[in-house]
Subunit: 438 residues, 2 copies
C-alpha cells in the first residue's frame, strides 16, 4: 500500500473540487483508447469516475502506463478535478500519477455492464468478479438494508439477538435431511434450524431472534432451494400465532419501507416499483385453499401439502403478493406445533401459518407447545424417539412459558422483493447439491 491513501470516493468527485487534487482508488471498469486520448473509468464502491489522459498534456511515461491498463485492474490515481458535463457528477479527473496495485491478467468471461449476463454457473465460478456487476451490487445493497431493518425493528421491540449452536447431537425435527459431521469421535449434525434452542431461550429472555445459517441436505435442483441459507428466526413468550402473524407482517412492511427510503438508486437501477402493502395481509385457512382448489376442479385430499404448482394455479384467482395460509393439518407440521384445541376435531388442525408471496413460501410459524405431556404425546404420534430429545425435554420441567414464533428465509424474501427468480443470485456464495465452490 505504501503511504498513499484515498482522499475522495467517486461520489465526492464533483464541481466543488474544481482544479483541486484528489487521490481516487478503485478498479478499471472500462477503457476507450482514442489514440492521443485515453478515457478510463475507475469504479469504487459508490460509483464511477472518468479519468481522461491527453498525450500532449500528460507526462509520456504516465500516458504509456495508462495505455497499458486492462479492465479489472486495481489502481490509485492522483489527479486534478475538472468540470466535464458528460462525466459522472459533471467532473472528470486529469491524472498526475498512477499506481497499479494489481494488474488484471485476463479478460473476464462476462461483461460487468448490463443486468443480464452469461449463464449463472460461469458467473458463480468467478463470483467475486461477478459481484462487481451493478445488478448484483444493487441486489446486495438491498439485502444489507433488509437485514439492518430487521434488526432495527426487532431490537426496537426489545428482542435480544442470540446465537445458538450449529453443531448438534441429534437429528431432531424430522422432515428436512441433515448433513452429518464428525465431531471428534462422535457423529453429529448441522442444525436445520435453531428451533428448539430459540424456544428454550424464551424461558430466560422472553423475546429472542437469531439471524444465522441453516443447513438442509436438499437434493432437489430448483431455483428456490439452497443447502445453506440465512434464516431470520424469531421467538416470543406469552403470545400466540395471531400475535406473531401481526409482528411478521409489520416487520415485512418495515423492511420494505426501509428499502424504499435507503435504496432509491438501486431500485431505479433494478427498475423496481415496490408496492404499498396494506395491513393486515390477507389470510386464507388451509381449508379455504382446499375448497378453492376443489372449486377449480383440482383434486387434493384434506391433509396433503400443497405443491408450488398447485398454488400457482390459484393465483389467477386473485391470490398474489404477500398472504398467509393458516391452520394447517397437524399431521404435516412438526411435533412442537400446538393444535387448535384439545378436542378431536380441533387436534386435526394446528395454530400454524405460512407466509406466502405468490407461490413462494417465505416464512413458517406457529404457536408452540409449552407443556411436556403434550409434547411427549405428539412426539410419540409422529414416531420420534423421546430419548433423543432428553436435553430439550428436561427444561419443560421448569415452567416453559407459552410462546410462538417464525423462521423466515432472507433469500426467499429477497427473491420476492427484487423479483429475482434464481435464489442463487441473491446469495453471495450459494451451496446446492452440485456446488460446493467457491
Amino acid at each position: 500500500m505504501g503511504k498513499m491513501r484515498r482522499t475522495h470516493y467517486s461520489s465526492e468527485i464533483s464541481s466543488a473540487l474544481q482544479n483541486n487534487e484528489a487521490i481516487i482508488m478503485g478498479w478499471v471498469s472500462s477503457i476507450r483508447d482514442h489514440g492521443n486520448m485515453q478515457f478510463v473509468t475507475i469504479t469504487d464502491r459508490y460509483g464511477d469516475i472518468q479519468v481522461v489522459a491527453k498525450r500532449n498534456e500528460c507526462a509520456e511515461k504516465l500516458f504509456d502506463q495508462i495505455q497499458q491498463l486492462k479492465e479489472h485492474t486495481s489502481v490509485a490515481i492522483r489527479g486534478k478535478a475538472k468540470s466535464q458535463p458528460k462525466a459522472p457528477n459533471g467532473t472528470e479527473v486529469i491524472p498526475l500519477e498512477l499506481k497499479v496495485f494489481s494488474m488484471a491478467k485476463k479478460p473476464a468471461p462476462f461483461m460487468i455492464q448490463g443486468k443480464t449476463s452469461v449463464g449463472i454457473d460461469t458467473r458463480l465460478n468467478l463470483r467475486a468478479v461477478d459481484l462487481r456487476r451493478n445488478y448484483l451490487k444493487s441486489i446486495f445493497s438491498v439485502r444489507n438494508t433488509a437485514l439492518n431493518a430487521t434488526r432495527k425493528f426487532l431490537s426496537g421491540l426489545g428482542f435480544i439477538e442470540v446465537n445458538t449452536p450449529k453443531m448438534i447431537a441429534t437429528a431432531t425435527e424430522g422432515g428436512a435431511a441433515l448433513f452429518p459431521i464428525f465431531y471428534y469421535d462422535r457423529e453429529a449434525f448441522l442444525a436445520q434450524s435453531p428451533q428448539l434452542y430459540k424456544e428454550q431461550l424464551t424461558m430466560a429472555f422472553e423475546n429472542v431472534f437469531e439471524i444465522g445459517p441453516i443447513f438442509r441436505a436438499e437434493p432437489s435442483r430448483t431455483n428456490r432451494h439452497l443447502s445453506e441459507a440465512i434464516s431470520i428466526d424469531v421467538e416470543q413468550a406469552f403470545v400466540d400465532y395471531n400475535d406473531i402473524m401481526r409482528l411478521l407482517e409489520e416487520m415485512i412492511i418495515f423492511i420494505i419501507d426501509s428499502i424504499k427510503e435507503t435504496n432509491k438508486n438501486e431500485l431505479e437501477y433494478l427498475d423496481l416499483q415496490l408496492q404499498n402493502l396494506k395491513l393486515p395481509f390477507p389470510k386464507y385457512s388451509y381449508s379455504d385453499i382446499v375448497s378453492k382448489l376443489h372449486e377449480a376442479q383440482e383434486y387434493i385430499k384434506w391433509g396433503d401439502d400443497f405443491s408450488p404448482q398447485t398454488i400457482k394455479n390459484l393465483q389467477n384467482d386473485g391470490i398474489e403478493a404477500f398472504y398467509f395460509i393458516t391452520d394447517w393439518p397437524t399431521s404435516i407440521k412438526p411435533f412442537y406445533v400446538k393444535t387448535k384445541g384439545e378436542k378431536d376435531d380441533d387436534m386435526m388442525m394446528c395454530e400454524s401459518f405460512d407466509l406466502m408471496y405468490g407461490s413462494l413460501e417465505i416464512s413458517s410459524g406457529s404457536t408452540r407447545i409449552n407443556r411436556k405431556d403434550e409434547l411427549l404425546k405428539r412426539m410419540k404420534k409422529q414416531g420420534l424417539n423421546a430419548d433423543a430429545f432428553d436435553y430439550h425435554l428436561r427444561v419443560f420441567d421448569y415452567g416453559v412459558p407459552p410462546h410462538a414464533g417464525f423462521g423466515l428465509g432472507i433469500e426467499r424474501l429477497l427473491m420476492a422483493i427484487t423479483k429475482c427468480d434464481n435464489i442463487r443470485d441473491v446469495t453471495l456464495y450459494p451451496r446446492d447439491i452440485d456446488r460446493l465452490k467457491p
Copy 2:
C-alpha cells in the same frame, strides 16, 4: 394462551398504577409462605414483581392455587397495584386471578439467586434454566449491547454485513483442525473462518464484515477455547494493518462506551467498573516482547510463538489491559499475510498484529497479500497445495485491491469486559470436545 395478554412488564408496575388492574406474566422466582399470607415474586425479562395474597382478602380457591405454586412455574396474574415501599418500584400486586401456563415439576439443582452457583456442567445440562440467573442475564445483556454497537460502528463507516458459506470444499488455511462433513456424496469441511471469502468480497464491496459462527476442532480442554465460536470478521480495501489497528481500537472503545451507557444496571449488578481506555492502545513488536522476555531471563527463540503463560509472566512488567503485539515472524502466520517488505530481512517479519487483553488473545489481523505471484510463492513455502485453492486464486487474475482486516472472537472480548474466566459462561450453548448437548 387464550385471550389473556400481558398489560404491564415488571418495570411498569409502579405507583402511577395505584389501585388499577394489571395483567402480569412471568415465572415464579421465589415463594414465602407465611400461613395466612403468601409472598410470591414473579420475574419477567425486565425484573421482579411482588405479589401478595392474604387469606381473608382473597377468594379461597385463588389463595389455594397460589399456595400450590412452585418456583419456576410460568404464570399470568391479573391483580391490583398497591403501594408498598418494600416492594420493587414501591408497588406490589394484589391478585384477582391466576393462570398457570406450565407448572414446574422439580426443584432446580441450583439456586437462581446469587452470582456464584454450582459447577458449570450441572448448570450447562439445564442451560435454559441456568440462564434465568441474574448473573447470566446481565452477561448476555452486555453481549447484546456489544454486538449492536459493533454493527452500529461498522455500518456507520459504510461497511456492508455479509454472510459467507460455512460448508467449504478444502481444508484451507492450515493451523486449526477442521470438522469434516458429508456433503451429499463428497467430503467437505466446516469453515474455521470466513478469511478467503471476505478477502474476495473486498473486490466488489471494498468494506465488509461478517458476524457468524466459526468451527475449530480444538481438542484441548481450556477455559478460553470453544469448538464453535462467534467471530466478528472485518476486511477493508485500500488500507494496511496500521489503518486496521486504528479501526479496531476505535471499535473496542465504541463498544465499551456503549455498554457503559446502555448497561448501567447490569454493570452495577456485576460489580464492574469499566476503565476509560486511551487511544492509541500500546503497541509492542514481537521482537520487543522477545527482548523483554530475555531481560526477564526467560528463554525464547526468535520465531517461536508465545504461550499464554509466557505472556502472563510479563504482565508484572506493566503490560495489561488492551495492547497490540505487532510484526510477527512470517513463518508462524498464515500464507495470506503480507511480509514487511520484499528484501530478505523484511520477509522474515509480516504486517500482522494480535490484540491482547492481558494474556488473552482477543483478535488477530494483518495486511493481506493481494498479488497472485506473491500468494503462490508463500503457499509453496508453507507446503500448501495451490490446486486446492484454485477457486480462490483465480479471482487474483482480476485486480484484487490491497486490503487488510481482522477476526475477533466475541466470547474472548466478553471475557475481557466482564472478567468472566470461563468462556463457556459467556456462550449460550457452548461446544467443546466433551460437550455437544444441549
